[in-house]
């Protein structure tokens, strides 16, 4: 299958402080790609550089062959309209109702009339099971609901590439499993390509087709492959420990 997103030798840094380097990977169309690693290893930072919030220090990042960071800001915004992003805590705009949150991108970037927008908002909230909460404000709904509403908003412009930052963090196992089903269904239904940052193992094993494992100590990716492959076949002790939920070898020895 063809490559949609391609990352080559990316170095991420905040000023002089390097977060991650030598990141290289490709994401195939219609696949679910997982960015894994322990806390603080730079997973979310990598995601930020892929959605235009943080310019990488060096390296190349292409979307369908187009260099993402080489073009102008306006060009990047155009490319971003192909993206749907689900932020860690939903990031709903708190002064708008759930429905208005989903409607706003359509009002800003499409020619649709009010009635058509309302139908599409209902549909997208229907996908994530949030239709009854359409007229509520973000402060009136729970964290899990905020996340689902955030997902509906990410789908607002029918993006073909979706980015999820810790979609199941803070959710109970049942809600989290439902969210996994939802992600799979959306991928199969819409044919979307999905990049997911997570350390929720059960969900990664279920949904991700391929992935990359970032290491905080060496500041480099230390393994490539699908989560299930990494669990069963990876030789690296740290990856093995992470994927099998055992403690690190070093930690075990006194």
């Amino acid at each position: 299958m063809e490559t949609v997103l391609s990352v080559e030798d990316l170095t991420l840094a905040f000023g002089p402080k390097v977060i991650q380097q030598d990141i290289t990977f490709d994401v195939r169309r219609g696949s679910i790609f997982a960015v894994m690693g322990g806390s603080g290893c730079g997973k979310s930072t990598l995601l930020k550089s892929m959605i235009g919030l943080l310019r990488p220090k060096t390296g190349r990042y292409t979307v369908d062959g187009e260099d993402y960071w080489a073009g102008s800001d306006a060009h990047r915004t155009d490319l971003n309209h192909r993206f749907g992003v689900l932020f860690q805590s939903g990031a709903l705009w708190s002064s708008m109702t759930v429905g208005e949150n989903v409607a706003l991108p359509m009002q800003m970037f499409t020619e649709l009339d009010t009635d058509a927008i309302r139908r599409l908002v209902e549909l997208k909230l229907g996908f994530v099971g949030m239709l009854p909460a359409m007229d509520l404000y973000p402060s009136e709904i729970s964290g899990g609901m905020r996340k689902r509403a955030g997902l509906a908003r990410a789908l607002a412009l029918d993006p073909d590439i979706l980015f999820f930052d810790e979609p199941s963090a803070g959710l109970d196992p049942i809600t989290s499993a439902r969210l996994d089903d939802l992600i799979l269904n959306l991928r199969d239904g819409l044919g979307a390509t999905i990049v997911i940052v997570s350390h929720e193992l059960s969900s990664l094993f279920r949904i991700a087709d391929s992935g990359i494992f970032l290491d905080a100590k060496t500041k480099k990716p230390i393994a490539h492959g699908s989560p299930v492959d990494l669990r069963d076949h990876c030789e690296d002790p740290q990856v093995h420990a992470f994927m099998n939920r055992t403690r690190d070898e070093e930690e075990k020895s006194p």
């Binding site: 139908r119 402060s139 029918d158």
Partner: protein, 381 residues
């Protein structure tokens, strides 16, 4: 229904095929929500089938490309079919469409009924109760702050000195420039107004007394308090309501750290400490502003102006303004903290709290000033 368009025509098109025992919705064209106008499905299309327990089927073979626009349409059709008592079969749909359809509920629940508007009497009643409760809460808070303040004075409180220091620096030295500029201009404006009137009576020298008394009794205290309400009161309210949103206040409560000692006391104390000094500073600057204008506009000697100012008011006037500014400081600190604590948890609530703190601060300062004026008049200061 119009005939099926040619396959290469891109507009989204649908038609109903009535068969015995089933209805087929035949879809064709491009069904992209963003580029094409997705038609609406008329709700009465299944009218003639009502009561007939048939099956609804879909034929999407002639659809060229689609996105959620098509799904929105199919969803509308299935809902209309359910209302008409038809059984919907999604078997003919391609797997991607079917997966998306499976996510959707088969009805849209009617929106929750809007709560009826409360009656006038109810509004007045609940408003009064809320007002009384608010007075109680603020009083309670005041008592607690005073109690904790006394405990801190004897060394048994748990306020962090560094918080008080930070707040005091922020409410004092950092405010010198703006307080100075405003008071200088107010003094100058008073002198302008006074000079233009008093000159007519050849009483130009009384400009000094006018500026001096107005500044010391009213202007320096009130202007400084208004600036501090906008500058520091708004900041306190925003800070505390942001902490509310981050669950920081909840964390303090769970640890049993009294919010009144930890958060409110340093804020109130710092304003109460700095306000009288800012007042004195404002007095000096204000009179200097008057001096500049008076000596430039009228033929007054600097020494003469100085003497006229000194002899215009006594220590009592100073004391009056000094006490007033202490009350203003405590009032602004307490109300802005209370408003911050009461705020909601969203981003817009922070803005509302900051605005409210500024408005309540300014209006309250002027109200208190009016009360002081009445009392002073009765007592004869």
């Amino acid at each position: 229904m119009s005939p099926l368009p040619d396959a290469h025509v891109d507009i989204p098109h649908w038609e109903l095929q009535n068969n015995t025992g089933s209805v087929t919705v035949v879809l064709s064209g491009t069904w992209l929500a963003r580029t094409a106008d997705i038609p609406r499905f008329p709700d009465d299309s299944f009218l003639q089938r009502r009561g007939d327990s048939g099956t609804l089927e879909f034929n999407t073979q002639a659809v060229q490309s689609w996105d959620t626009g098509l799904i929105a349409f199919i969803w509308e059709v299935t809902r209309a079919a359910k209302d008409a008592g038809l059984h919907t079969s999604l078997e003919q749909l391609p797997a991607p469409m079917r997966k998306l359809m499976e996510l959707l509920p088969d009805t849209i629940a009617s929106p929750a009924p809007v709560a009826p508007r409360p009656k006038l009497l109810e509004t007045i009643g609940s408003g009064s109760i809320n007002g009384l409760a608010e007075i109680g809460t603020v009083t309670e808070l005041t008592v607690e702050v005073i109690k904790n303040g006394c405990l801190t004075l004897v060394g048994r409180g748990r306020m962090r000195g560094v918080d008080l220091l930070n707040d005091t620096v922020d409410a004092g030295p950092s405010a010198l420039l703006i307080v100075g500029v405003v008071n200088l201009l107010v003094g100058a404006i008073l002198a302008f107004v006074g000079a233009s009137q008093l000159q007519k009576f050849a009483a130009g020298i009384y400009v000094a007394a006018l500026v001096g008394i107005a500044t010391v009794r009213e202007m320096a205290a009130v202007m400084t308090a208004i600036i501090m309400a906008g500058r520091t009161g708004g900041a306190y309210a925003a800070r505390i309501s942001t902490m509310q949103g981050n669950e920081e206040i909840d964390a303090l409560r769970v640890f049993g750290i009294p919010v009144s000692t930890y958060l409110i006391l340093p804020s109130v104390l710092s304003l109460t400490i700095t306000m009288p000094f800012l007042y004195l500073y404002g007095c000096v600057i204000g009179m200097f502003g008057g001096f500049l204008v008076a000596t430039a506009m009228l033929d007054l000697t600097p020494a003469g102006y100085f003497h006229a100012t000194i002899s215009a008011f006594g220590v009592g006037q100073f004391l009056f303004g000094f006490v007033k500014s202490i009350v203003f400081g405590a009032f602004i600190g307490l109300t802005s903290c209370r408003i911050g604590l009461k705020a909601g948890r969203s981003a817009s609530d922070v803005g509302i709290a900051a605005t409210r703190a500024v408005v309540v601060g300014i209006v309250g300062v002027i109200l208190i000033d009016a009360i002081f004026a009445v009392v002073a008049n009765a007592v004869g200061i």
